[in-house]
Subunit: 156 residues, 3 copies
């Protein structure tokens, strides 16, 4: 049965979150198209027109590098995330590109078991269908708080 | 493609939450029918039969007044919310009216970036379809905790 | 209208969470098949191959016993939960059995109103369709944190 677009987007988000939260980081770049844009920023930075972002990558190759760096640097699993992702609000569909905004909440679980509410925000996405699979052409994770951990390591 | 009712209700909730969380409060009253009931209360108050609620409005006009008051009073954006909303449990459908219960969690992000788990609970809703759009005839936000911030300002 | 499987699983999870969070524990065992497996464990225990789990039941009868014990022991409602459950990632479908993994976050609300982020994790489920209703053949709640409250009482 063909799923409605809304549900396909929700499915994409669920798969994305599961890959990160179960430490299958190798799969993470595959959620993006080759010439993607991935960024983590804050609502305030966005409002002020700061383009930079806390984490920035403008190709899938950069995402792969980042992932490899994480694997090399982090001998120990220092913490894990748990994403809880809301339903996307689907915006304009322009040709093969779909705009969607999806709220997220990420809990962080430290090695000793302490759990805190690490980040909340909204993913501002442009999604494209490539070979019948939805992939992110853009994923801007806009955090609600400007106080984002400078040790931010695992992708949101 | 016509979406199943469950998904249409989920979509309504996602749009509602997005309007509040991105500070588009002007759109908030439009999620309700004219002669609506909107209330924030707690599970304990409800159990004891207290009708009042912490916030109460029984028409869309009252919601508009409240929204205007918020805009006038809050010169500064003091805090923002991030709603994470679960899937509705759809109840009885009586004519054009649909009952549904939807769990929510709201994180609050203060101006300085501090984020806390502000409220959890369930929306007890009656939804009606008006001009092919679903709107709330009743939305009772039943908070799990009786300790709700008396400064509660932004609608849940 | 027949719902896609993904949505039916999401609906099952929403109903499951609602039964627990609104203290309709009597309905809880009915979400399982007779010869079910229900377990609460942690990601670390699972990794180390510890089979036991913090809570363990291998039949619906055991779930009923547990529920009855909770009703007898807890004269006062000591705390309540609020589950926020993500969309399932649907895995293999083997005959009538469906594998799915569903992230969860549980907030705990104490009698005095204090609310904390109690647990996060993923449900690793095997679901079977029995008499046109989906039920859990297995539900392993894998908590992200190993530091799970030893007073853990209400089922996750």
């Amino acid at each position: 049965m063909s799923l409605p677009l809304l549900l396909r987007l929700a499915e994409l988000n669920a798969a994305y979150a599961a890959a990160i939260d179960t430490d299958r980081l190798e799969e993470w770049p595959d959620f993006f198209v080759d010439d993607c844009l991935y960024k983590i920023t804050s609502a305030e930075n966005l409002k002020r027109g700061y383009e930079a972002g806390i984490i920035f990558a403008d190709s899938r190759a950069m995402l792969r590098d980042r992932m490899t760096a994480l694997r090399t640097a982090n001998i120990y699993e220092r913490h894990r995330y748990r994403h809880i992702v809301g339903l996307p609000v689907v915006g304009a569909v322009e040709g093969a590109a779909i705009r969607a905004e999806t709220p997220f909440l990420v809990a962080r679980i430290m090695r000793d078991g302490r759990t805190d509410l690490f980040a909340t925000g909204v993913y501002c996405d442009v999604i494209r269908e490539v070979d019948q699979r939805l992939r992110f052409a853009e994923r801007i994770a806009v955090c609600d708080s400007g106080r984002i951990d400078t040790l931010l390591a695992i992708p949101l």
